[in-house]
């Protein structure tokens, strides 16, 4: 449970880390759109080189991202299998005793692989270089124009940040309860089906009980300090955009523009 590389903030000191989270969030969305354009290999080369460049700027390790890809290996194998069976266009690439593997099947799979890889890289750069709380601030800021139409931007941002805040607490709690139940003879690895169900139950029930209790306590603590969701409040942390954010935005839009131009 400690090896979650995907989506984890890495406290490094880089130019990407110092950028305004709002711009990073929008840039990520723009790049996602660019990735979904059917722009062929030249388009992916453009996006790919830009993403790799930002990865280096953020001082992130490519190995780490490849490790995050590992769980998807199975999916890709499955995809290749289905594609070779279903796609029967293009020219014949291999002829296996009458069973023909077509070129499009292979290219289609490659496309999807590259898209997935790029998407994972883009999101990882965002989450690894931005603190979760900054990210929720950015969401709140970006949605705040919608407040006029009754959209609860602050409440949603608050909910997200509370949820993020309690992920490590829940992991700790799970470990603790697992150990406590192991001391009472629970074995999560072995045993019959019925024993396994009991083992999982002995973990989930206490986890739910303490989560509800914690939620109630948190709500009480917030109310005791006069928290009203709709109240106007100032913020200690002010989001500021600088020249580098505009430069990044410009580059990202250039990437999108060229991808659109290629795919036309």
């Amino acid at each position: 449970m400690n090896n979650i590389a995907l989506g984890r903030y890495l406290p490094l000191d880089s130019i990407v880390h110092k950028m305004d989270p709002r711009y990073k969030l929008v840039a990520m969305l723009v790049l996602m759109i660019a990735i979904f354009f059917p722009s062929g290999y030249i388009g992916y080369a453009i996006i790919g080189s830009f993403v790799l460049f930002s990865l280096l700027l953020a001082k992130l390790n490519i190995k780490m991202i490849l490790r995050a890809m590992k769980p998807m290996l199975f999916m890709l194998v499955f995809l290749t299998f289905v594609n070779t069976l279903v796609l029967r266009t293009g020219y014949v690439l291999i002829d296996l005793f009458g069973f023909k593997v077509y070129s499009d099947a292979i290219f289609q799979t490659l496309y999807i692989t590259i898209r997935l890889l790029l998407m994972i890289m883009v999101t990882t750069i965002l989450t690894a270089s931005t603190k979760p709380l900054d990210l929720t601030l950015a969401i709140e800021d970006l949605f705040s124009p919608l407040k006029r139409f009754g959209f609860p931007a602050h409440e949603i941002a608050m909910m997200i940040s509370i949820a993020l805040r309690f992920i490590p607490t829940l992991i700790d709690e799970t470990n603790r309860i697992m150990k406590a139940q192991a001391s009472r003879g629970v074995d999560l690895k072995e045993g019959t089906f019925k024993e396994k169900i009991m083992a999982i139950l002995s973990l989930i029930v206490p986890l739910f009980v303490s989560s509800f209790q914690r939620a109630e306590e948190l709500a009480d603590a917030m109310e005791a300090r006069g928290y009203i969701p709709s109240a106007k409040r100032t913020r200690y942390k002010q989001l500021k955009h600088t020249m580098k954010d505009w430069v990044m935005m410009f580059c990202v839009i250039c990437v999108l523009g060229s991808v659109i131009w290629i795919s036309l």
Partner: protein, 285 residues
């Protein structure tokens, strides 16, 4: 076979930026059939140490000998269940582990996991609940509806019902009222004297150490700094002054009286003895 630690190191999350060395080269032998207190400031490695006793943690380096078992990182540690049956560990705030529909069922959960028969488990659980002071009226109630102190008792009964030879308790009295804490400690003494159980208690309460324990282990920053008999620890040598923890109340009274000019023996350990000594001093004046 005794309980012993030999050059035990334990590192949390090794080879990551979050690496933390919780135990540093621990050499320790714990006497069987005694009550041993483990004290030390928070973060000194007490909880990490006791989790080695039933193999929830396995040392990064070194070996732990417990009863007839030997645990180290360079061997496969199989059949940990039989070890856990003989070494019962009660966690800090164990009330969070309750989950069954009724209290009796929850206490029976442990014994049944260790393949006791239904009837045997029921018998052991009832005995355990009586020991912690919960009568029949509690058996069919939900463990989630009772008070915090009662939950604690149910959780401790859940381990007692397994009937382990060694009982390890991580701050069993934290957050209990003084009366509840006292009866809890008296229960542990009874288990030790009557049923010859080896008991280890992690605690912050120096009064409990003085009143109920035989030996004391002091930890600091992942190391054992002293391991002595309780009487030697409090009344001989200087080690008690080196650790930054509040002395037992009785010793603080003696200390304060001596500072005010009372001629008292600083080694008075019994409360009646102390009263007599004070009376003698007053009648002199």
């Amino acid at each position: 076979m005794p309980i012993a630690f030999e050059k035990v190191n334990y590192i949390y999350a090794p080879k990551t930026p979050f690496q933390y060395e919780a135990l540093k080269c621990i050499d320790l032998a714990i006497e069987l059939n005694k009550i041993t207190a483990i004290i030390g400031p928070t973060g000194s490695g007490k909880s990490t140490l006791v989790q080695h006793l039933n193999a929830l943690l396995v040392p990064t380096d070194g070996t732990v000998y417990i009863l007839d078992r030997e645990l180290s990182s360079n061997q496969k540690n199989k059949d940990l269940k039989s070890l856990r049956q003989r070494v019962g560990l009660v966690f800090q705030f164990p009330e969070y582990q309750l989950f069954e529909e009724t209290i009796l069922k929850d206490v029976m959960f442990g014994p049944l996991n260790f393949k006791m028969s239904e009837e045997d488990a029921r018998q052991k659980s009832m005995t355990a609940l009586t020991m912690v002071g919960l009568d029949e009226s509690f058996y069919e109630r939900s463990p989630l509806d009772i008070s915090g102190g009662q939950k604690r008792r149910v959780a401790i009964a859940g381990i007692l019902a397994i009937n382990p030879d060694v009982l390890v308790l991580d701050e069993p009295t934290a957050g209990l009222d003084p009366q509840g804490a006292k009866s809890m400690m008296e229960l542990f003494v009874e288990l030790n004297r009557k049923y010859k159980k080896t008991i280890l208690i992690v605690t912050h309460d120096m009064d409990h150490v003085l009143n109920y324990c035989d030996n004391v282990v002091v930890m600091k920053k992942g190391e054992v700094i002293t391991h002595q008999q309780v009487n030697d620890f409090f009344f001989k040598g200087e080690s008690v002054k080196e650790i930054e923890m509040a002395l037992p109340q009785r010793l603080r009274v003696v200390e304060a009286l001596r500072e005010k000019g009372f001629k008292l023996d600083s080694k008075i350990s019994d409360i009646k003895e102390l009263a007599n000594a004070i009376k003698k001093e007053i009648s002199h004046e």
